[in-house]
């Protein structure tokens, strides 16, 4: 997304993006596909096609990106559900869900305060600092 923000006039191909992220084009297309469904990017087939941001970088928060890409929770229980016949095991799931939800909400609130434009600015500043 930061890459797209930098060159938002011209679309970038999944192959080019994969080169920066150091991964496979299909992996990029899969993730950009999710971001597309979330309305954050747009794609165009054919010669000179590729991916572009659908909104200004200043209006895209990291929370939007996070929610578009990550479907399952950060904090969770063991993947096997606890013994329902145990007093604790049978009731801890809902208790922890509440606390975990609260904690993740706090994390998401931070992500809500930052935009793609912020990240791009930070990256450019960092690059300039390293050049000097």
């Amino acid at each position: 997304m930061t890459l797209l923000a930098q060159t938002h006039e011209e679309p970038l191909t999944s192959e080019y993006i994969a080169g920066s992220v150091n991964t496979h084009p299909v992996f990029i297309r899969r993730i950009l596909g999710m971001l597309n469904k979330a309305g954050l990017v747009t794609s165009q087939a054919g010669v000179g096609g590729g991916w572009r941001l659908r909104k200004a970088p200043e209006t895209i928060t990291l929370l939007e990106v996070y929610r578009a890409v990550d479907e399952n929770h950060l904090l969770s229980l063991h993947h096997r559900s606890p013994n329902p016949r145990c007093l604790i095991g049978g009731n801890i799931q809902s208790s922890l869900e509440g606390i975990f939800g609260e904690a993740e909400l706090a994390l998401e609130q931070v992500l809500h305060t930052r935009t793609i434009a912020d990240v791009l600015n930070e990256v450019l500043q960092h690059a300039q600092a390293r050049a000097n």
Copy 2:
């Protein structure tokens, strides 16, 4: 930990705990071993042995438990590092680390406000509500 808080007078064996968590005793021993190194629990070998909390449940925050058990970050980049020859790829890592760190800190602050005793109380309340 909640299970240990409930019966903090007598030690619980890894086999008993595994029954509640619905997993294998060795898995429980591995995790309790980490909590032991963090000073949160204590173990005793032999007949009538097992695991106990080393501190009062009211003094054990979920943050302590979380830090003892989870070594790697919740939010992270792709496991393959980005292309250092790319302007964005070469500088985004440190930028995101800062933001991610801030976000995780917010999450951890929530975990810091809750103790094992809180969880036990909530679980018992929930159990009572379901009984009625």
